[in-house]
């Protein structure tokens, strides 16, 4: 394969992973604050429908994104209320919402199936950046404004997490909520806020599908993407940079599958649409869990330490646990 062709495939993969980047960063923020929003599958799907319908009704793409973000935050509010205030199982509430919102999108979105609607304005390359060798064609030629928004989101989230006081507090309420509370932080209010922000980002991810990267609406339009976003957050070790990397990796797996499809005509095409999901979970299985520690234990001590710091991914210590203030 020619290198120019490869560059185009990779650039497409990076661009098409943009909705997942939004969803993964949203879930990473939520989980870093100690809350699991397992509703991602339903949130992304319902918001894809709402975003499409709102944009079509108002004839304005950006209003679609606003509506999707609001609905995403509202679903997150239900998760937050059930999990933080009522201290019920976050998994149970999130899972029920995942199914409920998927079905709701199918039921209410029925009149909008396969009709034309507004899409994000045409792609435009950034003048100077696109001429940088390799990086230009990979990141700045293919992309539209959402792709760039994705880059900004990754950078801003990383900076906020690791270079600001607010980010330090965010990580503290997910790791040691009692300590954060003792230092005067309102753990419950902050968890609400970050869960809502995360939900809004997942909502935007849905609208990014229906208004740009998978334009339009159909029955179960974004099936599977919410579940894979949840898996990528774990693969990314709750780090926004690595989560984004995971999203791009998944995009590449999908491109690879479409390339392999033409290369291996014996295997039915439908297999290649499922394969990336299976592979991604396989990668997750291989990188998390005990195997890695066991493998690392065969290495010399000094190599082991730096490698395990680079590879090991521990969840936030208080993830999924309600905070008892008294």
């Amino acid at each position: 394969m020619e290198s120019a062709q490869l560059l185009i495939i990779l650039a497409t993969a990076i661009a098409s992973a943009t909705p997942l980047v939004f969803a993964c960063i949203g879930e990473t923020i939520t989980e870093r604050a100690g809350v699991i929003n397992l509703s991602a599958e339903g949130t992304v799907m319902l918001c894809a429908m709402v975003g499409f319908v709102a944009a079509k009704t108002a004839d304005n793409v950006w209003l679609g994104f606003v509506a999707a973000a609001i609905v995403g935050a509202l679903i997150a509010l239900v998760v937050a209320y059930g999990a933080i205030t009522l201290k019920q199982s976050q998994i149970a509430i999130g899972f029920v919402l995942a199914l409920l919102c998927s079905d709701l999108s199918a039921y209410l979105g029925n009149p909008y199936v396969r009709i034309p609607g507004p899409t994000v304005p045409p792609r435009f390359p950034i003048p100077i950046l696109q001429d940088i060798p390799l990086i230009g064609p990979l990141f700045f030629r293919e992309g539209d404004i959402l792709v760039y928004a994705g880059y900004v989101l990754i950078a801003v989230t990383w900076f906020y997490f690791y270079r600001t006081r607010g980010g330090l507090t965010l990580r503290a309420i997910g790791e040691q909520p009692a300590a954060a509370f003792a230092r005067g932080h309102n753990v419950i209010a902050l968890r609400y806020i970050y869960t809502l922000i995360g939900g809004a980002l997942m909502g935007i991810a849905g609208a990014a599908f229906s208004l740009d990267f998978k334009a339009g609406w159909s029955y179960r339009h974004t099936a599977g993407y919410g579940w894979i976003a949840l898996a990528i957050v774990i693969f990314g070790g709750w780090n926004p940079l690595r989560a984004a990397l995971g999203a791009y990796l998944f995009g590449m797996l999908q491109s690879l599958a479409s390339v392999a499809q033409s290369a291996i005509p014996d295997v039915p095409t439908q297999v290649f649409t499922v394969a990336p999901f299976v592979l991604m979970i396989l990668v997750l299985v291989l990188t998390s869990g005990d195997w890695l520690d066991r493998l690392l234990s065969y290495l010399p001590v000094n190599a082991r330490r730096s490698l395990s710091r680079a590879l090991r991914t521990a969840p936030p210590a208080a993830l999924g646990r309600p905070f008892e203030q008294d």
Binding site: L38, V78, Y81, G82, T85, L86, K87, Q88, S89, I91, A92, I93, F95, V96, L97, L99, L100, C101, S102, D103, L104, A106, Y107, L108, N110, N186, I188, A189, Y192, I193, G224, W227, L230, A231, I234, D266, V267, P268, T269, Q270, V271, V274, A275, F277, V278, I281, L282, L284, V285, S288, G289, D290, W291, Q325, D326
Partner: protein, 365 residues
């Protein structure tokens, strides 16, 4: 949102003034019904007409009642199996894949015994069907234990191990349907070549309901009720679910207990998958599980993991599923409304439970 008040003042007064816990549960139930009505109104239909259409769609004639029972049977099996995993503290989202792999295994054995066109074989049809159900159960066990091993030995969340295996099972089914097991002529989403009618499970009259499937579902449920209420095994399972570490310290073989929960759930789900093949579809289709596994999870969550209440809830949910199939024909609405109703009922049951615990009057006074 504004929970800036001092921690002590947040909960204490509410408890004193609390209403009986039942008030919150009933209140949450009523709100879920109002929301269902609202959603129907948003879709431009009248709730009364829609409910009427669903009732007649589920119980209008013998065919429809038969379809409700045909949905109920595998749902009972899945729900019964999920009682074990839930009580062990596991969210076995992999149940869908366990159904699918059971169906694949059952189809495999039937294709082996009766290759396309063959009408006679080593085993007469009734025995072949029985063997297919057993092999389906074994397939479900394999898929369940795989998720269990990943969870117990690999320390991977059972949720993601299960979801991954769901994708994998669907992938295998699709590969077989479009690849090695494709219909002579064109491969299509409608599934593999249907089996000869001699390999179909007998039904009640001309309906889709099969007595064998219903009997297996009821047996699984009764066994589960007895095991959870009256055996040491059920007690240990609950102990592991309540507090894994404490149970282990007190001498409960926790790993074995968790794996047996996956084993039993996989077995029941695999049998359900096999029954979908021999009793309902008579072939392998891509969505052979028909989302019954996820529906089973909802049922068991709604009854708060107590198997005694599974039968009425599962029957109601099956009726919703079948009744909603009428909606596209009679009112031009999407049949997903059943899922919306089921989801809202379970969501508000969970929220109502939480409200009752937080604000409800405590029994002692």
């Amino acid at each position: 949102m504004d929970s800036t008040a001092a921690p002590q003042t947040m909960t204490a007064p509410a408890r004193i003034a609390g209403l009986p816990p039942a008030f919150y549960r009933v209140g949450a139930f009523v709100i879920s019904l109002i929301l269902v009505a609202l959603i129907i109104l948003i879709s431009g239909a009248s709730p009364v007409t829609v409910i009427g259409s669903m009732v007649s769609g589920a119980f209008g004639n013998a065919d429809q009642i038969g379809r409700v029972i045909a949905t109920l049977s595998p749902l009972l099996l899945c729900a019964a199996g999920l009682v074990y995993t839930f009580n062990a503290g596991l969210y076995n989202l992999g149940v869908e894949g366990q159904i699918t792999f059971g169906a694949i295994a059952a189809t495999w054995v039937l294709r082996l015994l009766y290759p396309e066109g063959a009408t006679a074989s080593l085993l007469p049809p009734p025995l072949a069907i029985a063997l297919a159900v057993v092999v389906g159960g074994v397939g479900g066990v394999l898929w369940g234990l795989l998720a269990g091993a990943l969870h117990v030995y690999g320390r991977i969340s059972e949720i993601f191990a299960g979801l991954g295996l769901n994708f994998a099972a669907t992938g295998i089914a699709i590969y077989l349907i479009f690849g090695p097991w494709k219909r002579p002529g064109v491969a299509s989403l409608s599934g593999t070549q249907p089996f000869d009618e001699s390999l179909w499970l007998g039904t009640f009259g001309k309906t889709e309901a099969t007595p064998v499937a219903l009997a297996l579902g009821l047996i699984a449920l009764i066994v589960t009720i007895v095991v959870m209420r009256n055996t040491y095994f059920g007690l240990r399972l609950r102990a592991v679910g309540r507090n894994l570490r404490a149970a282990y310290v007190l001498g409960v073989p926790a790993r074995r207990q968790l794996l047996s929960a996956f084993f039993i759930c996989g077995l029941f789900a695999g049998i359900a998958g096999a029954l979908q093949v021999v009793g309902v579809f008579h072939r392998l289709i891509p969505n052979i599980s028909s989302n019954l596994g996820f529906l089973g999870l909802l049922v068991v969550m709604l009854v708060n993991f107590d198997p005694l209440w599974i039968l009425p809830v599962a029957f109601f949910f099956s009726a919703l599923n079948v009744g909603s199939l009428q909606l596209p024909l009679s009112l031009g609405l999407e049949s997903s409304l059943s899922g919306v109703i089921q989801g809202l009922l379970v969501l508000f049951a969970l929220l109502g439970r939480g409200l009752a615990q937080k604000y409800g009057r405590k029994p002692e006074g």
